[in-house]
Subunit: 224 residues, 2 copies
Amino acid sequence: MKGGNKMKDRAVIILSGGMDSTTLLYDIINRGYDVKAVGFNYGQRHKRELECASATCKKLGIEYKVLDLNVLNQVAPSALTREDWKVPEGHYEDDNMKQTVVPNRNMVLLSLATSYAISVDAKKLFYGAHSGDHAIYPDCRKEFVDKMAEVIKICDWKEVELEAPYWNIDKGDIAIRGKELGVDYSLTHTCYNGLEVACGKCGACQERLEAFKKAGVEDPVKYE
Amino acid sequence: MKGGNKMKDRAVIILSGGMDSTTLLYDIINRGYDVKAVGFNYGQRHKRELECASATCKKLGIEYKVLDLNVLNQVAPSALTREDWKVPEGHYEDDNMKQTVVPNRNMVLLSLATSYAISVDAKKLFYGAHSGDHAIYPDCRKEFVDKMAEVIKICDWKEVELEAPYWNIDKGDIAIRGKELGVDYSLTHTCYNGLEVACGKCGACQERLEAFKKAGVEDPVKYE
């Protein structure tokens, strides 16, 4: 029905409030989806991320559902959720960053986001994994995302399609895409130390700063 | 090292306290694994299951970890977790039993059990899905279990193998296996109405009673 009131397909996005998923949110709104966002609160240090995600959704008129996932701490305490552990400084690719991983975290998040997607009749589930994540996180690899997509497709009578459109681009490319889309990066948070003012030293901050440099734009968040 | 003190391989089992997973627990102890059990508390009516699982583990000297999963209620309330919903009477294969499904519940449980398995260095994850579950639960099908096994294998640098040894036998065969293994079925719970004394009417009770009949043994739990 050309020019008619075609119903938009619904999509769910996992929105952390970091720059990758926030850019993806703008991207899929731009692609014409009726979007609902879902986030997870698992006592992460960077709770500021969730506040940013909430502010972005408010700005864009998107529903944001935050699911409580403290169970992750019961399963396996990690550097990202335990206040008393020290977050290592340095680059993501360094060996000492490996301790920031909660085992199998992404499968847990994707599983719950899929439950939510099914319950709201979404056809798509979007996920902001990108190529820079691959090196140290086994559950950010293309192979992992592909196999998750296969099992998500058959886990219910309703079919949900998992899409990770940034899997083959890096954070710099994402910043370039965000520039085109007019993403408000002041409402994103990346620093692992979870401060209002980013530390600029941790692996996450370093990677973000490199991304903005590649995109040739200034990062609107404040650094120490 | 024949006759030496060979270290046992560690295995994690998802133990609900129902007869399927309880039989499987006896089975894998019999196969020589060093077993740790994991259960989930998501406000299910049949909390009695968890008490049974705990009693079985105590009896067998197995560690039992219960993870809080109330998040499932936040995602999608269902007949099995909402006190104010009526559990339909009748046979599992009836259409009205479909409302007892939490969408994608099994993927969520398997994901978390995998996180736990990785964190305790288990090589195997056991799961008691059986052929009788297939008809109405899409996430109990062999295809689903196979695809989960594939993605679980690559979700971490440590490899965990998912095994569902009962996928092709029914509850009656499981009861026969349990008889051989000397399973104490008085410490199992099946009724969906969650009472000390089972109702004998719900789909779960009916299926259980048929299973014991097939095995030619008497069910030690009390019925109304």
